[in-house]
């Protein structure tokens, strides 16, 4: 019989001073994520773009250890594509969110522990063809590393998120224009910079609307 050596190593999830913010309006979504990437006490970069584009109009703002985060998002991006190419129609945001949730939950009791990723998935579904299940417009999904998922109007991750949620509770309105919502996002980011002890680096802000994804220049 083969002698096997198995090592069970479970690393608890630790929040690492990253903040992710997502706001879903009537006809667009604004997502932002802090740019700080650190290795223990050393800052690697001030401005990492953690808003990963899954396809033409889906974006994931993800926080967590860089290795696991990048691997998971690359996997999601590539895993959704074959079925989408075969169908000929883009997956809906809800479908991608459920697939991501399934992947996150599946990691809990396998592969040495959960993926160390908390994320916000925002996507804009266009009215493509009859094959689509009829969903249209923007939707924002909040997901955490245990596989919890919730469709929200606005959501946050990280310590800075506590302050931002309060800010959004007060100022969020569903019918804001793109200028208003980007201004609100910048206010939220300022709140994070003001109240969080550790630096969050430079936030990257992106907007998804019916034309796709665009970067908001500072």
């Amino acid at each position: 019989s083969k002698a096997t050596v198995s090592v069970l190593y479970w690393k608890p999830y630790t929040y690492n001073m990253e903040t992710a913010i997502g706001i879903c309006l009537d006809d667009h979504i604004v997502l932002a994520c802090s740019g700080n990437t650190a290795f223990y006490y050393m800052v690697l970069t001030d401005r990492e773009d953690k808003l990963v584009q899954l396809d033409d109009n889906k974006l994931v703002a993800a926080t967590g250890e860089q290795g696991g985060r990048v691997a998971l998002l690359q996997y999601i991006k590539c895993a959704m594509k074959p079925a989408m190419i075969q169908k000929g129609v883009q997956n809906t945001t809800k479908a991608v969110a459920n697939f991501m949730r399934q992947t996150l939950a599946g990691g809990l009791r396998s592969r040495g522990g959960a993926y160390p990723v908390n994320c916000l998935l925002g996507g804009f579904d266009k009215q493509e063809s009859q094959i689509n299940d009829g969903t249209y417009g923007p939707s924002l999904f909040w997901m955490d590393y245990m596989g919890a998922m919730q469709k929200l109007d606005y959501g946050t991750h990280g310590y800075g998120g506590s302050f931002v949620t309060a800010c959004l509770d007060r100022h969020y309105k569903k019918n804001m224009t793109q200028e208003e919502s980007v201004a609100l996002m910048k206010t939220c980011i300022k709140t994070v910079h003001t109240r969080l002890t550790m630096s969050s680096g430079q936030f990257v802000i992106k907007v998804i609307d019916k034309n796709g994804v665009r970067l908001v220049e500072e």
């Binding site: 690359q74 996997y75 590539c78 895993a79 594509k81 074959p82 190419i85 075969q86 000929g88």
Partner: protein, 245 residues
């Protein structure tokens, strides 16, 4: 003694009969053509006339493998569907590992290798398809490959497979020019297929890949225009060749 039952048994004159018979299945399939131009690629297939109750949108003969690679085939449709699904997965797997778009020749070799594996172990049968793979690499290099049920692979400037492929290939050999622009390449492919297909833009499906632009299925209106041009050209040539009374 019949040597054509088992796949893994050579006949005395060195043939694997099952593979030969798989090629026969390909010869009975609808014709497919691939033509390479200076900065474009055209895949052109003969489409069976749509039956009334069938939703013809779901019957595809040119399959998208990735944003930059399309596959046309001749032979058993279901086999091609399976091959295409594997190619799609392999394409994404490549991207996952190397973060680059898959190279066309890598994917063509993968498909050819898959087809070859099914010719060498028992209990399986070869894929009854020849595939024509057209793709644009990221650096602008574009190529057309053809695979066969045996697992053979070669790169072509212009190729046809399926019913009446000899006629189409002869036409291409006599008329192909390597530096054709987008329009001329499209016309060449359509015209070569019209040698063997009953007239009508409704019986043809065309995909055009162009450098720097997204790939597209040629619309029926544009196709009708091209078909009309081709028919006019043909009439003019025939009237020229007609002996004077």
């Amino acid at each position: 003694m019949s040597y054509d039952r088992a796949l893994t048994v050579f006949s005395p004159d060195g043939h694997l009969m099952q593979i030969k018979y798989a090629m026969e299945a390909v010869q009975r399939g609808a014709c497919s053509v691939g033509v390479k131009g200076k900065d474009s690629l055209v895949l052109c297939v003969e489409r069976k006339t749509a039956t009334q109750l069938q939703d013809s949108r779901t019957v595809k003969k040119i399959l998208k493998i990735d944003d930059h690679i399309y596959l046309a085939f001749a032979g058993l449709t279901a086999d091609a569907r399976v091959l295409a699904a594997r190619a799609r997965n392999e394409s994404q797997s490549f991207t996952l590992n190397y973060e680059d778009q898959v190279d066309v020749d890598y994917l063509a070799r993968f498909i050819a290798h898959t087809q070859q594996r099914y010719t060498q172990s028992g209990g399986r049968r070869p894929f009854g398809v020849s595939t024509i793979i057209a793709g644009m690499d990221a650096d602008g290099k574009h190529s057309i490959y053809m695979t066969e049920p045996s697992g053979n692979l070669a790169r072509w400037s212009a190729v046809a497979c399926g019913r009446n492929q000899k006629t189409v290939r002869e036409y291409l050999e006599n008329n192909y020019s390597p530096d054709a622009n987008e329009e001329d390449t499209l016309k060449m492919a359509v015209r070569s297929l019209l040698e063997v297909v009953d007239q009508g833009a409704r019986n043809i499906e065309v995909v055009q890949l162009r450098t720097g632009k997204p790939a597209r299925f040629v619309t029926e209106e544009e196709l009708e225009k091209v078909v009309k041009e081709v028919e006019d050209e043909r009439e003019r040539e025939e009237s020229k060749n007609k002996p004077k009374p």
